[in-house]
Subunit: 305 residues, 2 copies
C-alpha cells in the first residue's frame, strides 16, 4: 500500500470515528431529553422512550451537528436541535404507523408504538414528543432568545401546513397515478424534506450563517430530502420487512417516482439528487465537507450493495 | 328604581358590553389564525376550522385578555395568547373524542372532528393546531423575544408530562374508585387546570406582572381549574347531550369528586372553589376585578339555573 493510500485510509478512519463519536453523543442526549420510564405517568414515558430510543440511524441529528460544525459552531446546542428533529421524526412515525394511516406493525425492527402499547397511548406519545421538542428549543443553553425564537418558528413551519403534516395529509389521499414527477417531488419535499430543512437550517441559525451560505444549505437539504424519500420508496418496493427493519409494501397503489418511471430511471434520478446535494454542500463553503459526505454515504450505502 | 340601582344596572351593562366586545375580537382573530378552508391541503384546514371555530365559550382567551388588561396590558398580544390556549384546547378535545379515547360523537352541538371528517384527519388536525399554537407565540407582535420564549416554555409545560397530556393519560386509566379527593384534584389540575394556568400566567408574562401578583394569579387559576372540571363532571352526569351540547355520560365508572362525595357535597365544594378563585383575584390586585367576576359568573351561570 502506498503512503498516499495509507493516508486516505487513516483519514477515512478518523472521519468514521468523528461520526460515531457524534452519534454516541446524540444517543446519550436522547436518553435524557424525555422523562425516565419511571416518571408518572409511566406508560406515557415508556412509550416515548420506546419510540424515540429504538435503534435509528439518527441521520437528522447528525446532519444538524455536522452542518453547524462546518459553519463554525461546535457544541451542545446543535446536538439538542438535532435531537429535536429526531423527536419530531419519531412522533411522525408513530402517527404514520397508526391503523387509520399506514397500519404498520413493525418499525426499526420492533413493534410500532400502538402495537407495543395501545392507540390512545401512541397518539398521546406522539403529541407529547412534538410538544417537548418545542420545550427543548425554548431552553437551549448559551443560545440567545432571538435565535431560540427563530428555531421555534422554523420548527412550527417545518411541521405545519406547509410541511410534514400537509405532506402526510396529501400522502394519505395519494392514489393519483396521473400525478406528474413535479407533483410527487412536491409531496416528498413536504413529507420528508421539511424535517431535513429544519435540521440543516436550524444548524445555520445556531452558527449564525450568512445569507449565501444559508441559501446553499437550503438547496442541499432540498435535494437530500428528495433523495432520501426516493430511497425509502425503493426500499418499500424491493426489500422484505426484515431487510428494511419495518413494515414494507405500504406504497402499493400510491403515486411514487418509482411507480411512475420504473426502477432504472428512478435509480438514475436518485443518483442525480445525491449529486445535486453534494454540489450544494460544496457551494456552502463548510470547513468539513468531507465529513458530511461520509455522513451522506453511510445513509445511502445500500445503493452500493 | 333608585339611582343607585340604575347605576348598578348600567355598570352591569357596560361590563357585559366590554366582555362581548372582547369575545368578538377573539372570534375575529381565531378566524384568521389558521389557514383558510381553501388553502391546500383543504381537508386539513376545513377540519381545523371545524374544530376551532365551532361555537365555544372562549373562556380561556377571555381569561387571558382580562387578566392581562387588569395587570396593565391592553392589546393584540393578549388576544393572540388567548387564542393559542383556545387552539390547544380545541386540539385536546379532538383527541379526547377519538374512538380510542372517549369515543364521543357530539361536541359543541356538532359532529366531532373524526365523525365530520375521519380519524386520520382528526389526529393530524389536532397535531397541526398544537404545532401552529407554538408558531403563533413565536411571531407575537410587539413582544420581545425573551417574553415570547417564556410563553413557548409555559405552553410546552402546560401541555406536556406535567400537564394536559399527563392528565389525559391518567384519565384514560382512571377507574380507581378508591381514589382520594386529593388524587382526583391532582388529575383535574392536570387535565383542566394546566391550560387555565397557561392562559392566566401567559397574561401575567405579557403584562410583566411582578412575583406577588403572579403568585396570586396562580392560585386563582388553580382553583378555577378545579371548579371548571367539577362543573364539567356535574354536567356529564345530570345533563342530556342536547343540554350539554356534547356527548355526556363519558365519566361512568370513573373516579370523580361527584361520584366520590355525592351531589350535595360536590355542589358545596364547587361553590368553595369559586369562592377561593375570587378571593385570589382580589389578592392579585388587578384593576378590573369586577369585569373578571362577570366573566367567571357567565361561565358558572348554570349553577343558578
Amino acid at each position: 500500500m502506498s503512503v498516499e493510500n495509507l493516508n486516505t485510509v487513516s483519514l477515512g478512519h478518523s472521519l468514521q470515528k468523528e461520526v460515531s463519536g457524534a452519534r454516541a453523543a446524540i444517543e446519550t442526549r436522547l436518553a435524557t431529553i424525555v422523562p425516565s420510564a419511571q416518571t408518572w405517568p409511566a406508560r406515557l414515558h415508556e412509550a416515548q422512550r420506546h419510540a424515540l430510543l429504538s435503534p435509528g440511524k439518527r441521520f437528522r441529528p447528525l446532519l444538524c451537528v455536522f452542518v453547524a460544525k462546518g459553519a463554525g459552531l461546535d457544541g451542545e446546542a446543535s446536538i439538542d436541535v438535532g435531537c429535536v428533529a429526531e423527536m419530531v421524526h419519531a412522533a411522525s412515525l408513530i402517527l404514520d404507523d397508526l391503523p387509520c394511516m399506514d397500519d404498520a406493525a413493525l418499525r426499526r425492527n420492533q413493534p410500532t408504538t400502538h402495537i407495543a402499547f395501545d392507540e390512545s397511548t401512541a397518539i398521546l406519545t406522539a403529541t407529547a414528543l412534538l410538544n417537548r421538542a418545542f420545550g427543548v428549543l425554548s431552553r437551549l443553553k448559551h443560545v440567545d432568545a432571538e435565535k431560540r425564537i427563530e428555531l421555534v418558528d422554523l420548527l412550527s413551519y417545518a411541521v405545519g401546513s406547509k410541511g410534514l403534516i400537509a405532506g402526510q395529509m396529501a400522502d394519505l389521499a395519494n392514489s393519483d397515478n396521473n400525478a406528474s414527477i413535479a407533483e410527487i417531488e412536491r409531496l416528498n419535499t413536504l413529507k420528508t424534506g421539511a424535517l431535513f430543512d429544519f435540521s440543516v437550517e436550524g444548524a445555520a441559525v445556531l452558527a449564525g450563517a450568512k445569507a449565501a451560505q444559508r441559501a446553499a444549505l437550503k438547496d442541499f437539504s432540498y435535494h437530500l430530502g428528495l433523495a432520501f424519500q426516493l430511497m425509502d420508496d425503493v426500499k418499500d418496493t424491493i426489500m422484505t420487512d426484515e431487510e428494511a427493519e419495518k413494515s414494507v409494501g405500504r406504497d402499493v397503489g400510491k403515486a411514487t417516482i418509482l411507480a411512475l418511471t420504473g426502477s432504472d430511471a428512478a435509480m438514475e434520478r436518485l443518483a442525480a439528487y445525491i449529486d445535486s446535494a453534494k454540489a450544494a454542500i460544496a457551494r456552502a463553503n463548510l470547513n468539513n465537507e468531507t465529513t458530511l459526505n461520509v455522513v451522506l454515504d453511510s445513509q445511502f450505502s445500500f445503493l452500493k450493495s
